[in-house]
């Protein structure tokens, strides 16, 4: 773990160094600011309170649409994996939505439901649900019949069966869906904010774009990237390790 962190630090330091050199060589700091200029921009927005407010707003939208997409997508995926009839009936819809561009869904949600918070969250969730469903469908289709029979013979009942037999088998699929989901959701949330919300990181990026303020754009991008990385390291990976304790 320590050496892995060490390598990550070296790798990131090289990235910053390369960026710095290119910025200096290019010379136009408005187009490509150096790292210290980005940190300055970060400090300025942080001091005004805008950074934390907008990060929080965006994070709340990410959390809401992520939870919504994971819940509905998992339920749908498990249904499709367990019932062949359901898969035949609804499976093609999933493929359709999987290939529908995110922008189309966002625009339609705003047009049909208005420029409101729930439309924004719904648009992001709808974009993510098919991905979760496809992943969990694989998981549900590969559930062990042997263990299901065991649970039935020993009278586990639905709750015990779900908790001790089914969910542990689905855990790796949940982790995969959560990981790819987090990355996708926060990118789409920014687009949703850019198109129709009066706050959040996406809105701030748009403002900075209109002002040609590349330093602020980079400041927000790094701040948010850092938070997502922290969620991955602080929540998803420890949970995955705990869930995999039993493996040899």
């Amino acid at each position: 773990m320590a050496s892995r962190l060490g390598w990550s630090a070296i790798s990131l330091a090289v990235f910053v160094a390369v960026w710095w050199v290119i910025a200096l060589a290019h010379g136009d700091f408005r187009l490509l600011p150096t790292p210290p200029l980005v940190i300055d921009a970060l400090v300025v927005t942080a001091k005004s309170g805008a950074l934390f407010y907008n990060l929080l707003v965006t994070l709340a939208r990410v959390a809401a649409s992520f939870l919504l997409a994971m819940t509905l997508g998992s339920a749908l995926g498990i249904l499709l994996g367990m019932s062949r009839t359901a898969d035949r009936l609804i499976g093609p819809w999933v493929v359709l939505f999987l290939n529908l561009p995110a922008l189309v869904i966002i625009i339609l949600c705003y047009v049909w439901f208005g420029l409101i918070e729930s439309a924004a969250v719904a648009a992001v969730a709808i974009n993510k649900i098919p991905n979760v469903a496809v992943t969990l469908r694989e998981g549900a289709a590969s559930l062990s019949r042997d263990l299901a029979e065991m649970a039935a013979v020993y009278g586990f009942g639905p709750w015990k069966t779900l908790r001790h037999v089914i969910l542990p088998q689905l855990a790796p699929f949940f982790a995969a869906a959560a990981r790819s989901g987090l990355a996708l959701v926060w990118k789409i949330v920014l687009v949703v904010e850019l198109l129709g919300r009066p706050n959040g990181v996406g809105f701030e990026l748009q403002t900075a774009f209109q002002l040609f303020d590349v330093a602020t754009i980079l400041a927000y991008a790094f701040a948010f990237g850092f938070i997502v990385q922290a969620i991955e390291l602080g929540i998803i990976q420890p949970w995955e390790q705990a869930a995999n304790r039993w493996r040899r």
């Binding site: 042997d146 263990l147 029979e149 065991m150 039935a152 013979v153 020993y154 009278g155 586990f156 015990k160 001790h164 037999v165 542990p168 855990a171 869930a243 304790r245 039993w246 493996r247 040899r248």
Partner: protein, 247 residues
């Protein structure tokens, strides 16, 4: 406790092309007395496991009926051919999960684990145990629920002789301590004689009862190879006439 009457009108698995395979069972009937230890002996592929699955209620795709002499569905334990433990739950949790929840369940599970000689391994995950030990956990789980009907499907297959002998003794002890109606599937006639007080030899397909033999051995006699061989002669059909008298 319960006895059991199995009547199967027909049982066939669907074929690959959609049609039905020739039936595994046709007009089959088997009666098992209360607290009997019956071994079902026959070549693999005959449908012995299928019969256990039908009795256990996990295979419902057949015509026929199951009659339990106590009039209701008994508490069933099924020790499968593979241990079928939950790899993400500890030994203790695996044994305790089938028990009705309560303060008592952990105590009962611990006792069952101790009975199979695994005290101290309660908090281990099953995949860290050897196959022989996993089979013991499966046995502990089967006994912890205090079954009225115990179904066993070659539970000791692929173990070495010393381990198998140990588990045979263990099974004898457990059943002596807590009598239960037992249906034990095996293709090993020595194992059948060693454990059962009645051996039903199946032939087919479709499966039919070729011989039905009472094993007249005491617990002590079952440890004597000569005695086992004597009964085995009946079982494998080398002494047809005596078997017929017995059946």
């Amino acid at each position: 406790m319960t006895g059991l009457v199995v009547e199967i009108g027909e049982k066939a698995f669907p074929g690959a092309s959609g049609g039905a395979n020739p039936p595994l069972y046709k007009d089959f009937r088997l009666e098992i007395a209360d607290r009997a230890f019956v071994a079902l002996l026959g070549p693999s592929g005959l449908g012995k496991t299928t019969l256990l699955n039908m009795i256990a209620g996990v295979d419902k795709a057949f015509t026929g009926r199951l009659d339990f002499t106590n009039g209701r569905r008994p508490r069933i334990s099924y020790v499968f051919q593979s241990p079928r433990l939950l790899p993400w739950r500890t030994v203790l949790q695996n044994v305790a999960l089938p028990l009705p929840q309560g303060a008592d369940s952990l105590k009962r599970a611990r006792a069952a684990i101790a009975d199979v000689g695994l005290a101290g391994s309660e908090d281990v995950y099953p995949e860290r145990l050897s196959l022989g030990m996993q089979r013991r956990v499966a046995l502990a789980r089967g006994f912890a629920v205090e079954p009225e009907l115990l179904l066993m499907d070659e539970p000791f297959v692929s173990l070495d002789e010393a381990n198998t002998a140990k588990l045979h003794d263990l099974l004898n002890d457990l059943i002596a301590a807590r009598p239960t109606t037992t249906l034990f599937v095996t293709h090993d006639s020595r194992e059948a004689v060693r454990l059962a007080d009645r051996i039903v030899v199946l032939e087919g397909p479709p499966a039919r009862i070729a011989r039905d033999i009472t094993v007249p051995l005491t617990r002590e006699a079952r440890r004597i190879p000569g005695e086992i061989e004597r009964v085995r002669d009946l079982v494998v059909g080398r002494l047809q006439s005596v078997a017929a008298v017995n059946g």
